[in-house]
């Protein structure tokens, strides 16, 4: 286990300095290296996910239409008078560890992206901006354990709280609310465009404390395949 010879400290010192400079001032080279190390069909796999999964696109469109229908039928009076603008951004990288589910995109504060901005994919809300830099932003997705978002469910707009995680679900639905699998789940939170679809209820159950109904959500996309998103900006 002991080294056979003394390491060349001068060489190692130079290497450490070069790496420190790269880590601190040129991290984009690291992202390129990551993209290089990732198998090519994964690194550029969004296209295959989007084009190869026609069913996913249709499901997303279906969710959008359901949300629009619910929006028009039940809550016309509450529609915002102005629609937000959206900015298209590329997904640079994903949080590589187990702690979070975040995306890193190539639009930031200088582009009008602000903390809390809604992030959409195929018309569905996939997350919110949690941190911005001049040209980059970090997006917390609905699959992050810390993600919380007030939502409304179905045409009647029953209230619930979207709780993020590996398997996101809607919690705190009033027990007498007749929600059912297939009902659309849409945003209803300050700072997020109203009635943006998030997904659809997959199943419902009673919460562990027996006080509320909760519902699992099905999503018509694979978060790991997303390559471009739309960010709401002022």
């Amino acid at each position: 286990m002991t080294p056979e010879r003394k390491p060349n400290l001068a060489l190692l010192g130079v290497l450490v300095c070069i790496l420190l400079i790269l880590v601190l001032f040129q991290p984009s080279y690291g992202w390129r290296l990551r993209a290089f190390l990732m198998p090519s069909d994964i690194a550029v796999g969004a296209g295959s996910a989007a084009s190869g999964s026609a069913m996913g696109v249709l499901m997303a469109e279906n969710d959008q239409l359901k949300a629009q229908l619910a929006e028009l039928q039940g809550i016309v009076a509450e529609l915002p008078t102005s629609s937000p603008n959206y900015l298209r951004a590329m997904v640079y990288s994903r949080y590589p560890l187990n702690f979070k589910n975040e995306l890193f995109v190539n639009a930031g504060g200088d582009d009008g992206v602000a903390t809390g901005s809604a992030v959409l994919y195929e018309g569905l809300l996939v997350g919110r901006v949690v941190q911005t830099w001049p040209h980059y932003a970090a997006v917390e997705t609905v699959f992050d354990n810390n993600f919380r978002l007030p939502v409304r469910i179905g045409k009647a707009g029953y209230d619930g709280l979207l709780t993020g995680g590996s398997y996101p679900y809607v919690a705190s639905i009033a027990k007498d609310s007749p929600v059912a699998p297939g009902d659309i789940v849409m945003s209803s939170a300050p700072g997020v465009p109203y009635a943006v679809p998030v997904g659809a209820l997959q199943s419902t159950s009673t919460s562990p404390d027996n006080l509320f109904t909760q519902g699992a959500i099905v999503f018509p996309y694979d978060i790991n395949q997303i390559q471009t998103v739309l960010i709401a900006h002022s």
């Binding site: 286990m1 080294p3 056979e4 010879r5 390491p7 400290l9 060489l11 190692l12 010192g13 290497l15 450490v16 790496l19 420190l20 790269l22 880590v23 601190l24 991290p27 984009s28 080279y29 690291g30 992202w31 290296l33 990551r34 190390l37 990732m38 198998p39 994964i42 796999g45 990288s93 994903r94 949080y95 590589p96 560890l97 187990n98 702690f99 979070k100 975040e102 890193f104 941190q131 830099w133 980059y136 970090a138 354990n145 995680g165 590996s166 978060i223 790991n224 395949q225």
Partner: protein
């Protein structure tokens, strides 16, 4: 740079590639950290610093040094301090330090996950244990 150093770099790059591949499929296991912990049993700290920085360079996902990256970088050096206790049996020391290191990593960054996402932690550690033993075997052969 010795043959063993080149092998170590290869082990690290393979760990990165596998980790990113699995991560893109929604399965997270920190193979790079596992490899670095194994490296701590073979290399002196200056060379270990190079591997740690290479790993941080590849894994740091945003243009800022985050607490997560600092803890990530500190764990291999903690393993380096522990290795003297396991000089007689690195095959046992590496798994033990891996478990302790990953536990410390989760406790420092996301302690709540022990309650909310225990299975994913188990998967993470399990993958790391396997890769750590592979790294040990490869580096042991390269040492001869």
């Amino acid at each position: 740079m010795s043959f063993r150093s080149l092998i170590a770099l290869l082990v690290l790059f393979i760990a990165a590639s596998l980790q990113f591949l699995l991560g893109s499929a929604g399965m997270f296991t920190d193979l790079m950290l596992a490899a670095l912990i194994a490296f701590a049993f073979f290399f002196e700290w200056p060379e270990l610093a190079v591997y740690v920085l290479v790993a941080v360079f590849m894994i740091d996902w945003q243009p800022a040094i985050t607490p997560t990256m600092l803890v990530f970088a500190a764990i291999p050096f903690a393993a380096y301090l522990f290795r003297r206790f396991f000089a007689w049996a690195p095959w046992a020391g590496i798994p033990l330090v891996t478990i302790l290191g990953f536990a410390a990593f989760y406790l420092a960054i996301a302690p709540g996950m022990f309650a909310t996402a225990a299975p994913s932690i188990v998967f993470d550690v399990f993958g790391a244990l396997i890769y750590g033993e592979i790294a040990l075997a490869v580096l042991s052969r390269a040492e001869r």
